[in-house]
Amino acid sequence: MTRIHDMGGRFGDGPIPLKKIDGKVVDDEPVFKTDWHAKAFAITVASASVGKWSIDKSRFFRESLPPKDYAKFDYYEKWSSALINLLVERGLINKNDLIEITKKAKEDNLEVSQVTDEHQDVLKAKDVAITLGRGGPSAREVLDSPKFKVGQEVRTINYSPNKNIIGGHTRLPIYARGKKGKVILHHKGHVLPDASAHDLGDSPEHLYTVEFLSTELWGDKDGNQKDSICIDLWESYLI
């Protein structure tokens, strides 16, 4: 087991929550279903300019929410709760701030004061388009030549790939541990999430897409004989 977020292949989940009219899927959901969804989204994106966490670190904080919370929370509850944990870890907010703001919230007394000293790295409205447009590319040069080539058969390791941190972030799903597949794409060097999530630098590695037969992943009898699952995997996840 890894963490509760690692749910690929899990049994017990019901029908996909789709809006249907007369049995037909209707795709007319607003971008943000509620105002607080929109706010949770925007304050998370904006805070990253000051907090300077990597995308891997923010994912790690979401998946590290206590399992009972992770199972119960909707998507933006996960985002906003992980955001606060990130801000506390970064020292930008402290627990007293949380206790005080909660007191005010419960008194219906949430007031925005005049801020005179915005953080120097705060994201300005005029910079939103350029910041989003730039994004955060994860491609990095890797000098070592790739260990695997397209077409080659590989096997994933059968334990957590994170070498440095017990319980640390990784992107090898448990359903694909110890499984045989074939390299179908080579994306050259990319930041290794297992390091980046823990402020341990980029540690780039060659990244591949590996195709697994459904029968290999779910056992001889469970899978359709043709279907496959393609997963992006870093070199150190493979043998």
Binding site: M7, G8, V31, N85
Partner: protein, 213 residues
């Protein structure tokens, strides 16, 4: 006995429950965080509005539909798109956050592609915008890699058993966009008219383009 052999760092879990100090009700929780961050000067309220406006009005699945329609009418563009999607999509200026590294996968009579992110909810924002609720649900994340045919049936998509389903689990920063098959009987349509047939779900692989009326 000393514990010196045990040198590896153990991730400290104590930062993963600070959120429990906040109000439990999600709307109030978010309002409290927002107020706190504004007062601390960590975020700026114009920026918050600008970000919401951007994804509500500027970046969404109509971008992806333009990419698809262009590929349907322009074989050269389609070639570039399948060879280097990031560059080809940049020609239409749909770049940046959560679309830094794009791969376009083509549906054919033999292969049907469908995209999921089992570990979180990775999704190509510059071409598809913010993912819908179902894409972020436990149900879609858990079931799609294991029983894609059943999942697609719930979307109304019955695939021939001879068609191979390829599920793409977005575990890295590579972002996948499905290039659906051009519907039959659309030879006479313009690029603009074709674009209007391209649904969001057809670019995730959970639907097909609409057919002309």
């Amino acid at each position: 006995m000393s514990d010196k052999k045990n040198v590896e760092h153990n991730h400290d879990d104590h930062h993963h429950h600070d959120h429990s100090l906040l109000p439990e009700e999600p709307e109030l929780r978010v309002k409290a965080i927002e107020t706190l961050l504004l007062n601390k000067g960590i975020i700026n309220s114009d920026t918050v509005n600008e970000l919401i406006d951007t994804y509500e009005n500027k970046i969404g699945p109509r971008n992806g539909a333009k990419v698809v329609a262009k590929a349907w009418v322009d074989p050269e563009y389609k070639k570039r798109l399948l060879e280097n999607a990031t560059k080809a999509i940049e020609e239409l200026s749909y770049t940046g956050r959560q679309g830094e590294h794009m791969v376009v996968v083509e549906n054919t009579p033999e292969v049907h592609n469908v995209v999921v992110c089992t570990l979180c909810s990775c999704y190509p924002w510059p071409v598809l915008g913010i993912p819908p609720t179902w894409y972020k649900s436990d149900e879609y994340r858990s079931r799609t890699v294991r029983e894609p045919r059943k999942v697609l049936q719930e979307f109304g998509l019955e695939l021939d058993l001879n068609t191979q389903i390829k599920v793409w689990d977005s575990t890295s920063e590579m972002r996948y966009l499905v290039l659906p098959m051009r519907p039959v009987g659309t030879e006479h349509l313009s690029e603009n008219e074709l674009e209007s047939l391209v649904t969001r779900n057809s670019m995730i692989g959970t639907g097909l383009p609409e057919t002309p009326k």
